[in-house]
Symmetry: C2
Subunit: 421 residues, 2 copies
């Protein structure tokens, strides 16, 4: 074991249906290279586990248990919303990380998260230089928001997209059945603070074979009540009913969220929720149509039961690629998905410098949103369709998915110092 | 065709993931007995189609299309919320039905619905006697609320139960991952105006292999804020997080719904929605925990993508049985599910007199709810488990379920009279 270094792996930010598939990719690949990588130590509750020296020894988990991660949603080691400040602002956090990494012979750092986490990972990757601690840091992309740059798409998104498209199709069939005497409008609220990728997926519920009247409200398009109500009226008159997919982040032209609860999370982002009833009430008030509304919330990002096979495969491949990158000596990079062709869909793994990823948010391109602002273009469809392709059903036991819970045994602490978060 | 009579089939009330499986059972079985049953004519938008002489000729649909009904959610012919008054109150509606039935040689009446519809079906079944029109009326049970008497369970319920249990398990895995620094409480609102069957299914998310802290709020149990908040606090202290499954119909001891929007539907039932945010706000106010909340609404009852196989099989079998009952000369009955054994689960078809079914609502038995009022008993688990058993995945096309839309071609009208609804 003289030449081996241990690896640290942590999950960060909102979890997804496939982030554990990336974890499986990391752990299974690392196990195959045990002459170079010792143990994979996972942070309990993300980076907090590193700061508090609460490290999970994944070598205590059986091969079977790790394989089951591939079909288990959520963050198996716990995640957190905890943003590291810059080195200048909070040097003691970085020094603590080095203290813990050194105590546990950690030379590889894998951070599985979104844009904020890419920034954290970038800072860690610079520790070699700034604090003279040798470490290779690789970021593994994950975000249902699909808003990371460079990579063609982000693991977690394809499965949410599939779930939202299916749910919108199913609920639309329902409201179509009821519309004659009862509900004419169905509203579904989906995630997406700034980027309308998930909302766009709702529009995929409708296609050539199964046309469905759908209105999408994107966070990228300032909400205009008059125009919206006119479109609802038009669609109900024409089809008898309409489904509305509304992003939680929809705001008016002054940037005021349709439903702002005034809360912020640890990253300083506004906490939203409840825009669906706001929209439903508007329709009821202005047009008198009976509405039903749903809020998908955590259900959408944890719906492993109907995950996209493309998404699961890519999440696993990115975890695997992250390990291969450190074995090649890389630091401060993120493996990416590169789209090779659309039809048939082909993809491969690429890589991006973290400095180009951190703190860049990829919104929907203008040519993905239809001219009226309420739908998606063919270009957008061609982009989304392959990401939702294929089913990857988990095994079932007693009528329910058989998801794994790891033992999550802690490594014995080696430091006698405490760290106050 | 001299001796054959046509059949009328209609879907009534809220639709489900498997009501079309019952329709397939009716149509496929009737087609096998074409010496006795002529065409199956479906009411467009339920009984309204009969009143307005808007009848769909199902013989125009291919064998393949009808077979696809088995995996298609919603009401393929349209449903409605329209309650027939008693013969005394509105004789003209019954006379109109007879006029339409006679014009189209209809001798068999199949009504696919819940408690209110059973009452309508009972009234129709009495037309033979009261208005001297020979008809055999059979009710096919359907309701996600699972609140019909005599039958062991109702088609539609098992699939909602499965969906809610899975969604609660998945979202609970999610909140468990986030609880350290973010969301500690997840609230999911489910259907169930008076009966807590669907809410009970949420508790199934937790089992011996996968224990999850869950609090269920039943409509059968008067809501007590103090006791509820104490239980949330206890569970979060013990497990770090908790999931709350709340029925839309939860009310306080004065019968006041936690979230009453003051609306009523055509049957005079209060229209609810939005109890989840009410509960989440209470928890936040009283305990300060960060909460997330979801409202499943139509998604739960249309989620054919994860329907229970037991449910699909039973829905089909009941449609088939309804046809067999009229062939045996029965009138004014409903085929039922009879549970033969629990382990292994075995069931058979029985029958009930409609007079014993109509307007009787089956709530959760007291011994199905745990003593503290926040969970379910082993007896309840033993009842629910087999109803959620098995998966019956629909076929997929381009990443989405391939649900059928029928041609729904109208029969030529034979009457030159209009009917004003």
């Amino acid at each position: 074991m003289s030449n081996t270094k241990n690896a640290f792996y942590a999950q960060s930010g909102g979890v997804t249906a496939v982030i554990n598939a990336s974890a499986a990719g990391v752990i299974e690949t690392a196990r195959k290279h045990d002459t170079r990588i010792g143990k994979v130590l996972a942070g309990r509750n993300g980076i907090i586990g590193a700061l508090t020296e609460d490290l999970i020894d994944t070598s205590r988990e059986s091969k079977t248990a790790i394989a089951k991660l591939r079909h288990t949603p959520s963050g198996a080691f716990g995640s957190c919303r905890y943003k590291l400040n810059s080195l200048e602002e909070n040097r003691r956090e970085y020094e603590r990380l080095i203290e813990v990494f050194a105590a546990h012979n950690i030379g590889f750092f894998f951070y599985n998260g979104g844009g904020d986490s890419a920034d954290t990972c970038l800072k860690i990757s610079q520790l070699s230089r700034t604090l003279k601690y040798p470490i290779q840091a690789v970021h593994i992309p994950k975000t249902v928001d699909n808003d990371l740059p460079i990579t063609d798409n982000c693991p977690g998104f394809g499965s949410v997209a599939k779930y939202i498209a299916i749910s919108t199709r199913e609920a639309s069939f329902d409201v179509a059945s009821m519309a004659k005497t009862s509900t004419k409008v169905f509203v579904i609220e989906v995630m997406g603070r700034h980027a309308g990728w998930i909302a766009a997926a709702g529009a995929m519920a409708s296609d050539e074979n199964t046309p469905i009247p759908i209105i999408v409200l994107f966070p990228e398009i300032p909400f205009n009540r008059k125009k919206f109500i006119a479109e609802v009226k038009r669609k109900v008159r024409q089809h008898g009913y309409v489904s509305i997919v509304v992003s939680e982040g929809v705001a008016d032209r002054n940037g005021r969220f349709l439903s702002d609860q005034g809360l912020v999370d640890a990253f300083g982002h506004a906490q939203l929720g409840g825009v669906a009833p706001v929209v439903a009430n508007m329709v009821k008030q202005d047009l008198g149509y009976k509405c039903h509304w749903a809020v998908a919330d955590y259900m959408q990002r944890s719906a492993r039961h109907i995950a996209s096979k493309t998404d699961v495969d890519q999440a696993y491949a990115l975890g695997k690629a992250a390990v291969q990158l450190v074995l090649k000596g890389e630091n401060s990079v993120m493996p990416t998905i590169v789209r090779v062709s659309n039809n048939p869909y082909r993809w491969k793994i690429g890589k991006a410098r973290l400095s180009r990823v951190a703190n860049v948010e990829k919104l929907m391109p203008a040519n993905f949103i239809s001219e009226d602002g309420f739908g998606i273009t063919t270009k957008c469809r061609d982009y989304l369709q392959p990401l939702m392709q294929g089913e990857d059903y988990p095994p079932y036991k007693n009528g329910l998915p058989d998801y794994v819970r790891l033992k999550n045994i802690a490594v014995k602490k080696k430091l006698n110092t405490q760290f106050k978060l």
